[in-house]
């Protein structure tokens, strides 16, 4: 007994080091698995408050740019409204479908990105809306130009978003003109390109084709634009394409975003749960 105590006292620094190191390893491993980072996230009173007050100042420097972006979006929506009432055979048909449904199934909440991040391998963003605005885990987040990510942790006033620029993120995506779908992943390299995998070899793809969300995951509605194909290769098994997708979004410059709630998500999840986890 005496020896054990002596051993502990002699090595107390080393033991303290091991203890703290294992704590940080637990946090690290949690952060690398999807939806597990329970304690360490920026959606809390302290860091959320700091980022919010800093953003209150810095957003003034981007006003012009963001105004132009919002006007552009208004323009697109206006075009959509006045054209779809007259003729229904427009090429925007998938997109209008989802916006028509949105009145009943999908609700949108505007939010502002108060912390952006795109240079790490697991990027997480912070939004200024939280539980108070009934934001919950697994809500989709989009910008006027395309998909941004999925809500992870929420606190009272803030929410963290797993960006599509996160190696843990998996978003179901499809070719715009056909229904061949695959998973959208990121290899951690360029913030302007993401990878689309598991598209079958039979799918007719070519450079410049548009990729949209598939609507299969109950997070995003069908037909939200993601990006265009820059190049593609067959994977090792020669059965599936690995496609590089250039994002419509400039992920280095996002400010105004929309959080999408799918009212049917709990029901869909319950139905799919025994066989799939998403």
């Amino acid at each position: 007994m005496q020896q054990i105590i002596n051993f502990l006292i002699r090595n107390k620094t080393f033991l303290l080091y091991l203890l703290l190191l294992s704590i940080s390893f637990v946090f690290t491993i949690q952060s690398h698995s999807y939806h597990k980072s329970k304690f360490i996230n920026s959606a809390n009173f302290l860091s959320g408050g700091v980022y919010n007050s800093v953003n209150n100042i810095s957003e003034y420097f981007k006003l012009n740019e963001q105004n132009a972006l919002l006007q552009q979006e208004n323009n697109t929506l206006r075009t959509l409204i006045y054209n779809t009432t007259r003729k229904n055979d427009s090429i925007q048909i998938t997109y209008t479908d989802s916006t028509n449904i949105s009145a009943t199934t999908y609700t949108f909440t505007p939010a502002v990105v108060i912390k952006n991040s795109y240079s790490a391998t697991d990027n997480i963003l912070l939004l200024n809306k939280g539980k108070r605005d009934s934001i919950k885990q697994d809500f989709g987040v989009i910008t006027p130009r395309g998909v941004l990510g999925i809500v992870d942790r929420t606190s009272k006033k803030y929410a963290t978003v797993i960006s599509i620029l996160n190696t843990n993120s998996r978003i179901s995506a499809k070719l715009k003109h056909t229904n061949h779908f695959g998973s959208l992943l990121w290899d951690g390299k360029s913030p302007y390109t993401v990878q689309l995998k598991e598209i079958p070899k039979i799918a007719p793809i070519k450079q410049g084709d548009t990729i949209t969300t598939s609507g299969l995951s109950a997070i995003f509605p069908k037909g939200i634009p993601i990006g265009t194909i820059t190049d593609f290769t067959l994977d090792h098994s020669k059965n599936f394409y690995t496609i590089n997708v250039a994002l419509f979004n400039d992920m280095t410059n996002v400010e105004h975003v929309y959080i999408i709630e799918n009212k049917d998500q709990p029901e869909i999840k319950r139905l799919l749960n025994p066989t799939s986890d998403e």
């Binding site: 940080s24 690398h32 920026s42 700091v50 790490a120 697991d122």
Partner: protein
Amino acid sequence: MNSLISGHTVRFISLVFLQVLVLNHINFLGYLNPYLYVLFVALYPIKNNRALFLILSFLLGLLIDIFSDSGGIHAAATLTIAYARPIILKFSFGTAYDHQTVKFNTIEFGALLVYFFILILVHHFVLFSLEIFNIKSILLILQETLFSSIFTIILAIIITIIFSRGR
């Protein structure tokens, strides 16, 4: 003694804010960020309570982690250099460290550079290994470690020179 403690408290807080509000958003060449907060560990008094020093370093890293949503990578890296600091000090300052006469304000530039270099290299290597967390990307880890280290060292040296008194 009191002014020493308050000085380190101010340094602790200002380094955290500098790191999370300014330096994390530099993204030089798209991905390079300096991690200047290691200066707190580097310039902590040499005669110290080691347990307290380890805990403080851990808290510093954890604070950075909370702000940057990175799990525990900064905590682990900062803790590691805090634990390894006596060895690095001994290596870079030799006998001066053995006689407990090292003062950061008075030591020569070359030794300081070696000290910063080793400390920052170790910190960044642990940091990026845990961040990327994939042995297949070892090249990416080494590349980011090297480039970010250079960036951090340059900034750290500049800041130390600017803020050191009596030089």
